[in-house]
């Protein structure tokens, strides 16, 4: 059994816009990162980044408490890409503490907005595979 996904695999999680379920996203992130062979420190970074992305969405969309948002974990060799998608356009406030933390914890962060949807995309590479 290998720790790293040999081909792209994806896990999707649909969660209510409810703070009670952020821990479920965190646990899933931890499990996926561990499965891919990330180190302990990197797993903690990924857990925190996923949690902050959920917080960003939940805090920005209080009016849509009944809807769900989607988290996709894309596993490809040494890269874990995570997309978090929700209905509704969110202001991209780069000074937001959650975004500051995600930028520091992950290798990449992008936020795409249109009038209907917002997608937060982030990725982290398995450092031991880079060199």
């Amino acid at each position: 059994m290998t720790n790293l996904a040999s081909e792209q695999e994806c896990i999707q999680l649909s969660l209510p816009l409810n703070a009670a379920y952020v821990s479920a996203a965190r646990l899933t992130a931890s499990s996926v990162a561990n499965r891919m062979g990330f180190g302990t420190d990197e797993i903690e970074d990924i857990k925190a980044a996923v949690s902050e992305a959920c917080i960003f969405i939940i805090k920005k969309l209080p009016a849509l408490q009944k809807s769900n948002f989607l988290i996709q974990f894309h596993m490809r060799k040494n890269v874990l890409s995570i997309n978090i998608q929700t209905q509704g356009a969110l202001a991209n406030d780069s000074d937001e503490m959650s975004l500051v933390m995600i930028k520091a914890l992950m290798d990449r962060l992008d936020i795409e907005n249109d009038k209907d949807n917002t997608t937060i995309s982030m990725a982290k590479s398995h450092k031991t595979e880079l060199f």
Binding site: R26, E44, A48, S51, V100
Partner: protein, 109 residues
């Protein structure tokens, strides 16, 4: 996932000694803030938070701690954070809050 808090008033050092364990996140950070604020309102002193068994905090928990610190500072006090794990200490550094709280005795994971 939840957190536990154990608070005693240290008569010798005249400050609150609080041990926090578990995970503090967006779901329960307001509750933590309420509990810590109640202590400060009861006795207006410094506060020592032992984080040895604290496994996780998020930005809302950091914000809650800043809110409690504002209250403590209004009485001329300060908050000391002891035994913060490296993975959490990193979050304080990223947000520059390591310069706001008095960080003491980081521990290794």
């Amino acid at each position: 996932m939840d957190y536990q808090m154990d608070a005693v008033f240290d008569e010798e050092s005249k400050c609150w000694s609080v041990s926090i364990s578990g995970e503090v996140d967006i779901f329960n950070s307001a509750d933590m803030k309420k509990s810590l604020t109640a202590l400060i309102n009861e006795k207006n002193t410094d506060m020592v938070l032992d984080c040895k068994f604290l496994d996780y905090i998020d930005s809302t928990a950091l914000g809650a701690l800043v809110g409690v610190l504002k209250n403590v500072r209004s009485y001329g006090g300060s908050i000391h954070l002891r035994n913060v794990k490296p993975s959490l200490s990193k979050l304080f550094k990223i947000t520059n809050l390591d310069k706001v709280f008095i960080m003491e005795g980081d521990v290794n994971d």
